[in-house]
Symmetry: C2
Subunit: 570 residues, 2 copies
């Protein structure tokens, strides 16, 4: 990790900014030779053959860099033990392998060892920059988009206005103004009407990180709600908080039961008490039934991702080996657990007609996977392009999922694991599994989910910067960067995310979570290994048919018609 | 296996022909109670609630029958050790589990043990009948279809006429008239012009089972051909046959190389010599390069199918267990091997511009998998509904694949393995893998492949009866049964097999055979486990769009239009 001294310019990190005759090799395209340029935020390669650069890579997208040397005398290629001891003779060229956060692997063959080492050093420094305000979104100023657009699309106020048309049990509270009560919550939150702001402050002190229970989702059909929070700080002595108990009691209608879904195993929840954490006891929280479901988080998930991507990149030709590595990665097991637990939450709401509170420890990771997936299962609005954006805003960005910490590295980085975990990617994978089982129920396609994955890990937009709204506010992210929703909702961009088979399905979608029903997300994990050409062919054909159909329905359109009206009538 | 005495009627095998109050449970439908009837060829159940029978099962489709008893005192259910010792008390009911060749599993709860045992005994006898002429196709007489239709669609004569427009190097020989030279070949075969019938007879004596090399496929682009045969009977002493050598030499153009693809490992081919078999030696077959590729056959494949289906039916909830069982079944490994070897053959033809001879030992199993798949890869005609039928006729039925022996039992049967092997199913699976990778290049859909699988194992049509044309001739199959092609090509039937995304692709389709690229054929192996509802939804939506599009293109059609022309123009 590179900490930039305050006065230092990014350009000072660039040791060599231009090298000629560099050979770029990438998946699915012919290797190309050209001039390589390193700018503060991009790595560029141009063969000067056409108008376009052959490579325009956001340096932030680089997950790992490997260097090797290729002597002209032969193809022998060795890894540097210490780069200062590398063979710097003029006759040899260096190879830099760039492994990207979006899982793409490419290589650059650079004539001259000096240049190679300088380029590698520059890329390492620029790609591991920790200072958020030096990141590209603060410098990205496209012609077509303006800074305001997209940032105010999905506010707690708007969510509350919608909720008010169905129930007046809830109120909008500004108790967290200036992020004073909970640093990871937005300034406005929806809470139960019977709880005043003073009580909320008391509850915040009783919940880890100040994350008191807040409203997440109202199910029109049953009138039940999903709430989320962090764990209560009961500690080993079973500390209580009357206001917290009152909040939860107030949510339940008379004679109704509620469920607390704790994303830790019973054992882990008990162990948490020793460190001051805990869970809601039966005796103090009447009518709330606690269900423990162990959902994996942290390092285990990150290692699973690393193993999965390693399996996918394995060039060996054996099915046995592939299937064992896939199994050993446990990725699909994690996907299954999250999807199963989300179904449980949704079932409580729709079938048991009971409200649900979800939390684990901090309530910023597995909790959000479950609240957001349960909504996708239950609510057709969340399966639209706009509704999914609103969901990401509400349940991930404003809810304080620490994107910058969790998505700091992807599957290739050699950096020591700290806070990284593909929590959000598991969520996207679950959405993909749902869309496979209900191919007509989602307005968006796979490409939309892949785009969100890419931007969560490296982006020219500010949306996924920082770890919570407070940090975004402090850095003026919403004033000084562009929102990804502004780009995605522009008409030319939006159409590439549309599922042509979409037909609104007002029912809940209950997926099969049998092992046989869950599949590897090939479109994401094999996207740089298997050429997408023929997989995309089918979608292109469907879109072509739809276009043709549309033109026929509107023959006065200026677009050329494939079959003329006259001839079609013959 | 039940050998029917000549004078015995099928109906004499039926011990109890009717039982009331039988409860039928099947995948995806509500259990239903009704009257069960056993006829000579069908098992029927009717609740008399509607016009239709709830069950109309071809008894030939039954692969295994398991009996258990359910006492009214409890749900305890035990397997009979010896049916005569079963609890025949009036208060208990028996359960018959029927496992079908099409992989469906259903159960019948029959009141009264006596009746249950009688039904089971009848079904066991009727389903394991060995006499072909007593099978249902000889009794099936639907109103809409006549006996002649479909049988003469794909003849060697027609194939030869087509070939003659491209080359005159080949001739149609009737040396096998009355199946005198090779019992597993049709009466007419295409052979090289330079070889007369006398020489063919000599060659037949030198090849196992009389299967001398015959023409299989002509590749217009390169003028190269695929031939197939059985192994040469060189034996341990390296016996030679001048006519055989001459045949192969004559096929090669001057200065051209040919490839012999032997579907056995080098070791297996050498071992075959001891038993009188062998292979073409380099010295005697100039310019022919032999490539050994071990393709699995026989018992190993059958066991693989059994393990795969067992894994698919496993109700356990663990991804690890599912993936290990899938791996242990080796099914995908076998699919991969066949597909890879077929690609090799196709590459010889298209890229190396060399002709190919394919054989293993008998030349009736793995040989046919490869010749047919190579044609699908190379020739767009084989990817149409009609062309695929022609391919099945030429390369499987007329080529003497022993369907009756290989498809006698499916994945559930407890009968001792004899000649069963899912050679044809592996071929269909490879076709499915190709259609997944090239979703627009096939005129037919998955349902077409599944239908062929079903009929190969149990059918009301005569097409897949017997093991070769000689047997079909002897039993008058083509005069006394209906051809499946007659049904499939009827307009109402045909449309359900059409891939709406089809667009003729005149190129060869080269699949990826990387382990990550091959998938479990869920549509077949999980068809009774995962409800097809939502998987089919997408296809229905596409078809709906296409229909809508077609109606708009032809507004004078009598079918109602969803959007009226007038309103669409607004």
């Amino acid at each position: 990790m590179f900490l930039l001294p305050a006065a230092m310019e990014l350009s000072e990190l660039i040791e060599t900014c231009k090298v000629d005759n560099v050979l770029l090799s990438r998946p699915f395209v012919q290797p190309v030779k050209g001039t390589l340029c390193v700018s503060s935020h991009h790595l560029l390669l141009s063969s000067r053959a056409g108008d376009k650069e052959e490579l325009w890579l956001l340096i932030r997208n680089i997950d790992a860099i490997e260097k090797s040397v290729q002597n002209l005398s032969g193809l022998q290629s060795i890894k540097f033990v210490n780069e200062e001891n590398g063979d710097r003779s003029a006759g040899s060229s260096g190879i830099i392998t760039i492994k990207c956060k979006d899982l793409c692997v490419m290589s650059l063959e650079i004539p001259g060892m000096e240049e190679c080492l300088n380029i590698a050093k520059s890329l390492e420094a620029l790609s591991s920059l920790e200072s958020t305000s030096h990141m590209y979104p603060f410098f990205y100023r496209p012609m077509q988009l303006n800074l305001q657009e997209g940032w105010d699309l999905f506010t707690p106020e708007e969510q509350f206005t919608k909720l008010s048309t169905h129930t007046d049990n809830w109120r909008l509270s500004y108790v967290n103004k200036d992020f004073a009560v909970c640093p990871t919550y937005p300034d406005a939150v929806i809470v139960h009407r019977s709880i005043d702001d003073a009580a909320l402050k008391t509850i915040a002190a009783f919940r880890q990180g100040g994350r008191f229970p807040v409203f997440s989702y109202y199910h029109k059909k049953t009138g039940m709600v999903i709430m989320r929070s962090s764990q209560p700080l009961t500690g080993a002595n079973g500390k209580r908080c009357k206001e917290d108990e009152h909040f939860l009691a107030a949510v339940l209608q008379p004679d109704k039961k509620g469920y607390i879904i704790d994303t830790r195993s019973t054992q882990a929840a008990h162990q948490a008490k020793v460190k001051g954490g805990g869970f809601e006891s039966k005796t103090n929280y009447h009518n709330w039934k606690r269900l423990h479901r162990s959902v994996e988080r942290g390092r285990v998930l990150q290692e699973s991702l690393v193993k999965l991507v390693d399996a996918c990149n394995d060039q060996s030709n054996s099915i046995d080996r592939w299937l064992s590595k896939l199994e050993a990665s446990k990725w699909l097991t994690h996907v299954k657990t999250v999807l199963t637990t989300a179904c449980l939450a949704a079932q409580c709401i729709e079938r048991e007609e009971a409200s649900v509170l979800i939390h684990g420890s901090e309530g910023r990771d597995t909790t959000l996977q479950l609240t957001s997936l349960a909504q996708i299962i239950l609510d057709p609005d969340c399966r639209t392009i706009g509704g999914f954006q609103a969901l990401i805003e509400r349940e991930w960005l404003q809810a304080g999922h620490p994107f910058q910490l969790r998505c700091a590295t992807s599957a290739y980085s050699h950096a020591k694991l700290k806070q990284e975990a593909p929590i959000f990617l598991i969520f996207l994978d679950c959405c993909w599994q749902l869309s496979c089982q209900f191919p007509c129920s989602f307005q968006f396609n796979e490409h939309f989910l892949i785009t969100l994955f890419e931007h969560a890990y490296a982006s020219c937009f500010g949306t996924f910067l920082c770890n919570n709204e407070k940090e975004r506010f402090t850095l003026n992210v919403k004033e000084q960067t562009i929102s990804i929703w502004a780009r995605i909702n522009s008409p030319s961009e939006r159409k590439q995310y549309v599922n042509p088979l979409y037909e609104r399905n007002s029912l809940a979608i209950w997926p099969s979570v049998a092992p046989q029903s869950l599949q590897l997300w090939q479109g994401l994990f094999l996207r740089w290994i298997r050429s997408p050409e023929h997989r995309n062919e089918a979608w292109e054909q469907i879109n072509h048919i739809m276009e043709h159909c549309k033109r026929k329905a509107n023959p006065t359109s200026t677009e050329p018609s494939v079959i003329k009206e006259g001839s079609a009538r013959e």
